[in-house]
Amino acid sequence: MKRMWNVAALGAVIVIGLGTFAVDATEPKAEWALDISSNPSVWKDAVVEFGYNTDDDVSQRYEVTSDESRVTSDLNYIAEGLRYRERLKGDARAVHRLMNGMTYTESIRMKDGYVGLGQYGNKELIIFNQLNGKEIKTYTFDAKDRQIYEILTGWWSGLFWHKGELNLIYRNGYDGDETTMLATFTQTMDDVTVNEIKMDNGFITHVSGTSYFDETSKSPSISETRYVPVAVNAYETIREGDETYYSGITMPGQFAYDTETGKVVQLAGNQDFWDYAVFENRLFTINTDGEETVIDLETGKQSTRKVLDSVNRAFYANGRLYQTRQVKDGVVIDVYEDGKQVSSAAVTPENEEAQAMLDQIDVYVRQK
């Protein structure tokens, strides 16, 4: 029996050591609440996400809805898997499965499902189209075709859908020699034509509504419009003595590719925007003065209205404009729709751990 003391002693060491580890374990313990002061229906399908970041601590992430608060960072493998499963439901799973082995892919979300392009190395270009939100049709182009090879090796800026055809905007060249190209895939998905988009200055870097790599957009499907919002970059040449540098800058203002004329046009002025988003067939932007510009992407007509007195942090999500501001006991989120405030809510700390990290959190809202 005296031999059992060895086991008991080792057991005690384990209990003490791992006990302190369990107590110390950095599993985030903060709890939050979403206090809705007006119009709860706005929050029915919304999830407030936020992150806590400081230099001296392990970063943490949380999600709060009207009825629960949960940690989403450093989840254990099982919880991580369950969370992923919960977020990636139904139709999107098939698309993800397809995109899984691809070395690069971009996609857009249509009413029927996802449409996109992917590549296996520089060997194959795959176009895929999800029909009726279920079955996926694919077609593979071989890179032995010079034209396909050029598409594969170009920088993909993004995708848009026009007249039943998938279009890819990409660019070739670098350091000021960029040319923006447009590849149009036929309805039957087995042929492609490539044209250059002539630009006065710069090149297209991004096409609104495109999901990059294997993220699949949560935002509602985009609709087909005449103007396709794009982001434009240009290179500035800087000379320092004998040396020449190129410095890329994002051109201020809102640009769009006009599908009728095949040109890139500027839709809104040279302002600094806090955020912009496309909802259905309208482009919304919010500038630093709190003015919202709404552009009709069919006609190009725009209107401007004053929405916020001053911008603290504003962003678009789910067809609404959100403005957040830190107050003493929480983060207030005001919600605007069509230029008018429709709701207000606040993320408030529920325990001491949450209180301590309050002034270091960044809040976002996403669709459930």
């Binding site: 031999r3 086991v7 080792l10 209990v15 003490i16 050591g17 580890f21 374990a25 898997g81």
Partner: protein, 268 residues
């Protein structure tokens, strides 16, 4: 009850080498910590005199040091070695304890699980001791630099999670800790299965270890090859499930093999 009794015999037999290992680890770690603190302070003072001491001390730097990582390596190597030795020593030498163990009126799997539990207790013990040692080292670290008025950055948790090995040893979540431990035991189970298969060849030639190793390599690689085949078809949550199932299968197969060879095939 027999399991507990046998476990206590096994633990008694390993107590001395275990204490030597623990003492060795602590000496290396605290010795290196002392050297690290002294060296960094010297360096900092030099920079301060030169007027450009703008860098900050981080516990992560100490944890990333060769001597510290080496001490962990020694512990891992010792545990792997002991997992082999815990069986072989009973076959070796003038006193063949395996004769006694196998002729005891009890299920032979009691021996298997007692040895497994011994390894389990030792690894958990090492994890526990190392955790306390880390905490003490952090206290020593902060109080030393505080005393010298040398600025520091980063928290204890941050230093741990930024270190690949320690991040795995002491993950942020208890559930992951348990899962990582299971990984360790699966390694141990593979070693056990290897020894038991190898010891079951009556004709001990060079081929017996080779053959038993081959059997285990096949068991080990089938799921990995399966993953290479499936990885493009499985999405993240399914991959996690796949890994979970593979772990259970590995544990199940190695225990089953161990049991089969221990009960009906082992040769002493």
């Amino acid at each position: 009850m027999n399991l507990l009794k046998l476990l206590s015999w096994e633990v008694e037999r390993v107590t001395k080498p275990f204490l030597i290992l623990v003492a060795g680890l602590l000496v290396v770690q605290f010795g290196y910590l002392g050297y690290f603190l002294w060296d960094e302070t010297q360096l900092y003072e030099q920079l301060r005199r030169a007027g450009d001491a703008d860098y900050q001390m981080s516990f992560a730097n100490y944890l990333g040091g060769t001597a510290y990582l080496l001490s962990l390596g020694i512990a891992v190597a010792a545990m792997l070695l002991y997992s082999v030795w815990i069986w072989y020593r009973d076959f070796q030498g003038r006193g063949t304890f395996m004769l006694r163990l196998l002729t005891m009126p009890q299920k032979r799997m009691v021996i298997f699980f007692a040895k497994l539990a011994t390894i389990l207790m030792m690894t958990l013990g090492l994890f526990a001791i190392e955790w306390i040692a880390l905490k003490l080292q952090y206290i020593a670290f902060t109080s030393w630099f505080d005393g010298k008025m040398i600025p520091m950055n980063g928290s204890f948790e941050q230093a741990l999670s930024s270190n690949g090995i320690l991040g795995m040893m002491y993950p942020d979540s208890i559930v992951n800790f348990v899962i990582h431990q299971l990984f360790i035991y699966i390694v141990v189970l593979f070693i056990f299965a290897f020894v038991l298969i190898e010891r079951s060849f009556w004709q001990r030639t060079i081929w017996s270890p080779v053959l038993s190793l081959s059997i285990l390599v096949v068991i080990l690689t089938i799921p990995i090859l399966g993953y290479a085949f499936l990885s493009n078809r499985l999405i993240y949550d399914e991959t996690i499930m796949y890994v979970g199932v593979v772990l259970i299968v590995w544990a199940g197969v190695t225990i089953w093999l161990g049991r089969r060879f221990l009960q009906t095939k082992l040769n002493v």
